[in-house]
């Protein structure tokens, strides 16, 4: 029983047919495929509309982090220096993104929706030191804007973890 040459031709047919198909290559840096709304990329800290920070320095996110990469040092709010609406605020808030595994537990843990994982994924750096994100970096508007796919279709109608507060 010789499987040749008919089987060879079958293989060639697959290759030949491929010529008439559109390439699936995405021209990446120019074109960015929209990430799905649940995508967990770089973290972002949020502010209330009145400019105060949502984070109250409770360290729950640090407690939830499996990689132990969040460092929170809290300080008291004073009438002269009011940073967050609560009693305390995060004086230091650092995430070491070179350790982070993007599990999103910090986002689940935060009771005030102060930290979320957003769509940005282009976060490589030339130096490991640059991957330690400080509070200012996390609070700032991201420079890069990543397209996100339709939220209604690809997320649940009432997102469990990302409800508005």
């Amino acid at each position: 029983m010789s499987p040749q040459p008919f089987d060879s031709l079958k293989g060639f047919a697959v290759t030949f047919r491929q010529m008439f198909k559109k390439p699936i290559t995405q021209q990446y840096p120019e074109y960015k495929r929209p990430v799905y709304p649940r995508f967990r990329g770089r973290h972002r800290l949020w502010r209330h509309e009145n400019g105060l920070e949502k984070c109250v320095g409770c360290s729950l996110c640090a407690a939830a982090c499996p990689a132990d990469c969040i460092r929170v040092v809290a300080a008291e709010n004073t009438p002269g220096n009011r940073v967050s609406p609560g009693e305390r605020y995060a004086r230091i808030y650092e995430i070491n993104l070179s350790r982070c595994i993007f599990c999103g537990y910090c986002e689940l843990a935060c009771p005030f929706d102060a930290i979320t994982l957003e769509a940005e994924f282009e976060i490589s750096e030339y130096s490991r030191d640059d991957l330690i994100y400080t509070k200012d970096m996390l609070l700032a508007e991201p420079v890069k804007r990543m397209p996100v796919a339709d939220r209604d279709l690809y997320d649940t109608p009432t997102p469990v973890w990302k409800a508005e507060s």
């Binding site: 029983m1 079958k10 799905y36 407690a63 939830a64 537990y105 689940l108 009771p111």
Partner: protein
């Protein structure tokens, strides 16, 4: 040009080369002649599937001695998990076998659930089965792409990774990230299934059927592929059982054993699928088992999409599951539960369990001991890759050095899982 007839057929009985089954010892007489060449294969070799080091002793082209050295990827996952609460530890097993992450996650979560004595709702069970089957296809695609690449079929790599990417997109859709989703949580799923998932997954399952035929057309009948795989790396059924093999390696040796059938977990007893078994125990049959399993997994995915029940996706138990987000701002009790769960974690009753699932590589077991606290007291995984690696020396008896690549590839080991 008959290819198959000239090839060696599977042997009867046993031929495990030495008391240590993973070592092939050189015949002392041969060594005295002094024609033995010792070659280091790996740890940084592109075709060792990671960082496997094989010390190969050659007599001309023939492999006469073999010794596997493992441990280059040891990360201490199991020990690390003892220092984390169960909730956090769920992120660890996924990284042990990074190719079949969803199955690894499942086995750990099932072990926790067994100790806790909770049963996830049907929707969670069906979705878990669906994702595990997608993950099986993913794992087999990675295997096929890389194993064929090592034997020179470069285009297979591009074809396989096209479909693999589609599967990873699906994982990104439901789980948030493309790998290591931590989507299975004790008690069910982390989040509900979004509407868009069903259509995307159905579209994928429909194309996947044709794709597997394409892969088969590219490889199954090709003279070079047959030459490289038929009658190579023989392992008899008796030896496969003696060496504790499971999964595709065992089924390619003619043993009908699949944990999804013989010991159904999740809802595998409610779907219709077959277990492919091939009798010849060579590399070619292992390849055929992988191909057929991809087809069967696609069938299960389709049935799961069809049969997915409605309802809750996680148990309603505030002592284990984080409370719904909106309650945090209205209910003090929920907030206290939330704080408790995040900082301290849930307590798991004292006891020990051993749970097994059929991962893409075979029987994946998780042995979990709890001392009643919020952290596991001991976690141990039975890694099918590690067991598969033990069969290398037996498969390699009277193989040529070029076959070594085909044989090591066909055993489908993931070094992350071997070393843990």
């Amino acid at each position: 040009m008959a290819v198959a007839e000239t090839k060696r057929a599977i042997y009867e009985g046993t031929r495990i080369p030495s008391p240590i089954p993973s070592v092939l010892q050189v015949d002392p007489g041969l060594r005295e002649e002094g024609d033995i060449l010792e070659v280091n294969f790996g740890p940084n070799h592109p075709s060792t599937h990671g960082v496997l080091r094989l010390i190969v002793e050659l007599n001309g082209e023939k492999v006469v001695g073999l010794q596997a050295v493992v441990g280059y990827l040891h990360t201490g996952f199991e020990k690390n998990m003892e220092a984390k609460t169960y909730w956090k530890a769920i992120t660890y097993p996924e990284r042990i076998d990074y190719v079949s992450f969803q199955n690894n996650e499942l086995v750990f979560v099932l072990a926790i659930e067994k100790l806790l004595g909770i049963e996830p709702p049907p929707k969670a069970q069906w979705m878990r089965m669906l994702l595990c089957e997608l993950n099986r296809i993913h794992s087999h695609l990675v295997w096929l792409g890389t194993a064929a690449l090592e034997l020179g079929a470069i285009s297979m790599f591009w074809y396989c990774f096209r479909e693999r990417d589609a599967i990873l997109d699906l994982f990104e859709l439901v789980g948030g990230v493309r790998m290591h989703t931590r989507y299975f949580q004790a008690g069910g799923l982390a989040e509900d299934i979004p509407q868009g998932f069903y259509d995307e997954c159905r579209a994928f399952a429909d194309t996947m059927e044709k794709r597997v035929d394409d892969y088969e057309a590219l490889l199954s009948g090709q003279a070079i592929w047959l030459e490289r795989t038929k009658g190579v790396g023989l392992l008899s059924a008796e030896d496969a059982i003696a060496l504790g093999q499971s999964g595709p390696v065992l089924r390619a040796s003619g043993v009908d054993w699949d944990l999804r059938k013989v010991q159904p977990y999740l809802v595998y007893d409610q779907v219709d699928f077959e277990v492919p078994v091939y009798p010849n125990g060579d590399v070619y049959d292992r390849y055929k088992v992988h191909m057929d399993e991809m087809r069967q997994s696609t069938r299960i995915v389709q049935q799961a999409l069809h049969g997915m029940p409605e309802g809750p996706w996680i148990v309603d138990d505030r002592k284990i599951v984080l409370p719904p987000r909106h309650e945090l701002h209205t209910s003090m009790e929920s907030l206290i539960h939330h704080f408790k769960l995040v900082t301290e974690g849930y307590r798991v009753p004292e006891g020990e369990v051993y749970v097994t699932v059929e991962s893409p590589r075979g029987e994946l077991g998780c042995y979990l001991v709890s001392d009643g606290g919020p952290k596991p007291w001991r976690v141990k995984f039975r890694a099918p890759s590690f067991v598969a690696l033990e069969a290398t020396a037996t498969c390699m008896s009277d193989a040529l050095v070029a076959d070594l690549i085909a044989i090591v590839g066909s055993l489908d080991t993931v070094m992350g899982e071997v070393d843990r």
